[in-house]
């Protein structure tokens, strides 16, 4: 675990030196938010449409930034050194922590902005925040393992979204449903199946990622 923490710190330092993924993901989120807000206006959409739009913005912004963490190691040819100094599972956990942090930073910026600009009122903040947290773990878990796959292939850009989307769809579907319930003042009991689904998905995808990552990394 300590080594995973070291990998995480190395990635944070490296990222803040160039800020490549950070810039890409933040600007992508802002651009899509602008496009959405500009095209439908503040008061014309109900909670159903708004919660779907929020998750679409979150999903595609995460798609623009999550792959960078492994692609960078391949492009700078540092993957071999990393293989020598540490185990594959600590690499995976370190990179997963970095992607989770990246997504939380984006959400801290985008979600309040979205609520303000689009007039998206949340009645049940607890359900909403919990669904975002679990959803972030699921998105980051699936995104990290697919990023590891993609970094070894020849076409890195477009393929990432194509591979990640069908796997991450349960997160999007349950996330949208939970956000909708949080915005229409449904009691906590009604959103519990969505929260369970998000939580279970995060656990399953992260476990599968840790188990399968070794086959990609030491291939």
């Amino acid at each position: 675990m300590y080594k995973a923490w070291l990998v995480f710190r190395k990635d944070v330092q490296q990222e803040f030196k160039t800020r490549y993924a950070l810039n890409a993901i933040f600007l992508f989120a802002i651009v899509t938010l602008t496009a959405v807000s500009f095209s439908i206006g503040a008061f014309s959409a109900g909670p159903e449409i708004l919660s779907a739009l929020l998750w679409i913005i979150l999903f595609f912004s995460s798609m623009s930034g999550l792959a960078h963490i492994f692609v960078r190691e391949e492009e700078t040819h540092t993957a071999d050194t990393l293989k020598l100094v540490t185990t594959s599972s600590s690499v995976f956990i370190g990179k997963l922590l970095f992607n989770i942090m990246l997504l939380f930073m984006v959400e801290l910026l985008v979600v309040p902005l979205f609520m303000g600009v689009m007039n998206f009122v949340i009645y049940d903040a607890f359900v909403f925040v919990l669904s975002l947290v679990f959803g972030t773990f699921g998105l980051a878990g699936g995104g990290t393992i697919v990023a590891a796959i993609i970094s070894k292939s020849n076409t890195k850009g477009a393929l990432f979204t194509v591979l990640a989307f069908p796997i991450l769809l349960p997160v999007i579907v349950s996330g949208i449903s939970a956000a909708k319930k949080a915005a229409t003042n449904a009691p906590l009991v009604l959103a519990s199946s969505e929260l369970q689904a998000l939580f279970a998905f995060a656990v399953v995808i992260i476990t599968a990622g840790i188990l399968l990552f070794d086959f990609i990394w030491n291939e």
């Binding site: 796959i149 020849n154 591979l163």
Partner: protein, 220 residues
């Protein structure tokens, strides 16, 4: 010799299933002629799931002992799965048009098969993006297993959030169609005929893969 005679038996069995589905089996009470698609829709859907499970099994075996032929077997099984998946989608869509009024309305069952097709289309996109054989095998095997662990979420989670019109996927428990003896006979023979066709096709592909690998070996 044994396999050859099996092939001929399979031919007559399939012919009997087609005859039985259209002419022998009676109609379910209160439902129209369109329910005859049942004898083709359910078996193809069942084969889709079987094929993907077999593919995931071969992917797992590949990761375990790194023999290239298992990766090619997994590819063959997933190709057949995709083929039967398209057939199940088309027959299901025709049935949906007749009984629900539209070819496609994002019923949870329709959503889950669509996502299944999307996942395996992505699997083949990934395969075409990697050139080295052993790297392609490892990456696609990992993706196959990753996809396979998320499939239960589509089967159990999505229908829990959105209610479905589709009858229970497990044959004849609380399904909307109650079958009598003749229907059940045709249905079960169709199911076993399709299963035999799938394994026969898979066997052909596996033999072909063996020959191709041997030729490659001789060339080197």
């Amino acid at each position: 010799m044994f396999l050859k005679s099996l092939k001929i038996i399979l031919f007559f069995l399939l012919a009997a299933v087609i005859y039985g589905a259209f002419l022998y089996a009676p109609l379910a009470k209160g439902l129209g002629e369109y329910t005859r698609v049942l004898y083709f829709h359910v078996p193809t859907a069942w084969i889709t799931v079987t094929a993907f499970a077999v593919g995931a099994l071969f992917s797992g075996i590949y990761l375990k002992n790194k023999e290239l032929k298992y990766d090619l077997w997994a590819e063959a099984a997933n190709q057949l799965g995709l083929l039967f998946g398209v057939l199940a989608t088309v027959t299901g869509s025709i049935w949906a048009k007749m009984s629900w009024g539209s070819f496609w309305n994002w019923d949870p069952r329709e959503t889950s098969i669509f996502i299944l097709l999307l996942i395996y289309a992505a699997y083949f996109a990934l395969r075409s993006a990697v050139e080295q054989a052993d790297r392609r095998a490892a990456l696609s095997a990992v993706y196959d297993l990753l996809a396979f662990v998320t499939v239960p979420f589509f089967v159990f989670v999505v229908p829990r959030i959105y209610s479905s019109l589709h009858p229970d996927p497990i044959v004849n428990t609380q399904g909307k169609i109650h079958m009598n003896g003749k229907m059940l006979l045709v249905f079960l023979s169709s199911l076993s005929a399709y299963t035999a066709v799938f394994f026969w096709m898979l066997k052909q592909r596996i033999d072909l893969i063996g020959i191709q690998l041997k030729i490659k070996q001789l060339e080197n």
